[in-house]
């Protein structure tokens, strides 16, 4: 890959960024190529040492999003950060899907139980349905279901907090700067 091809790919990958950031990134790559050429390296050599431009930009974006998410604790930013890491490493998606499914189960189960516990007795009493259980039993069952529902929802919320903490740690680990360190010649 020569410099023009490399820079063209970079330009395409950073299309959606704010103008100033785009210019900064392009300038930095240009400067790096310039320095390399001054040292007598070839364009192809420099481009090869930098690696795949698309991946480079994805990594840059992921590192930045993770940094922002860890300092702000904002859910939307955390989700963006997760998405950017997944785009680099698909396995990350699999790591998240289990805890997310668990949280969803608790939430849905909790809400369902809560609603059943509240609406069941109301329905029974307003329609005078014949059941083998006395009214007291119905009310107690309703209260238990409601409380159980609340318990499940609280568990879900606690799981969400736990997930957010471990997510940040995991994302920071994934975006640590290590795998593409190269010595400057």
């Amino acid at each position: 890959m020569n410099k023009n091809e490399f820079m063209a790919t970079v330009t395409l990958s950073i299309k959606k960024m704010p103008e100033e950031e785009k210019q900064d990134i392009l300038y930095d790559f240009e400067e790096y190529f310039q320095e390399g050429l001054l040292q007598g390296r070839t364009e192809e050599d420099i481009a090869a040492s930098l690696g795949n431009p698309k991946t480079l930009i994805k990594q840059m974006v992921a590192v930045k999003l993770v940094e922002q998410a860890s300092s702000s604790n904002n859910t939307q930013q955390t989700l963006k950060a997760i998405a950017s890491v997944i785009s680099l490493n698909f396995l990350t998606f699999l790591i998240f899907i289990l805890p997310l499914a668990l949280i969803a189960t608790f939430m849905i189960g909790g809400v369902a139980s809560f609603l059943a516990g509240v609406s069941g007795p109301i329905y029974y009493f307003s329609n005078g349905i014949l059941t083998p259980f006395g009214p007291l039993t119905i009310i107690l069952a309703g209260i238990s279901a409601t409380l159980f529902g609340i318990l499940l929802i609280l568990c879900a919320r606690w799981l969400i907090k736990l997930l957010r903490l471990s997510t940040m740690k995991f994302l920071q680990y994934k975006t640590r700067v290590s795998s593409n360190w190269r010595k400057i010649r």
Binding site: D24, Q34, K183
Partner: protein, 109 residues
């Protein structure tokens, strides 16, 4: 010297700011300067410089160069200078603490 990766990142920020406190540098010059002492990937320095600029700790200007197109030089702002002083204090405390632990161990031997 094998340093922990995350640790190196924080130290890099301090090194860059300390260098900029002494004089203005352009991107690659900083990479070269730090590499004299610590192996430094350009991969970390450039994004760090962009972040410092976004945070308002540095400003940039162009200066003509004989070797090619004008170069973008980084300059520390007053805010940047303050941040650098804070980082240096933190670093000093950290070094002292580590040294206390290490020294303490040696005393027992």
């Amino acid at each position: 010297m094998a340093l922990n990766i995350q640790f190196k990142k924080g130290v890099l920020e301090l090194c860059v700011m300390a260098l900029l406190d002494r004089k203005d540098y352009y991107g690659y010059e900083l990479v070269t300067e730090i590499s004299k002492n610590i192996e430094t990937p350009e991969n970390t320095v450039y994004p760090l410089l962009r972040r410092l600029k976004n945070d308002g700790f540095t400003t940039t200007y162009l200066r003509e160069s004989q070797e090619g197109p004008p170069r973008k030089y980084y300059q520390l702002t007053d805010e940047g200078r303050k941040a650098k002083e804070e980082l240096m204090l933190e670093w000093g405390h950290f070094i002292k603490s580590v040294y206390n632990i290490i020294e303490g161990e040696c005393d027992n031997e």
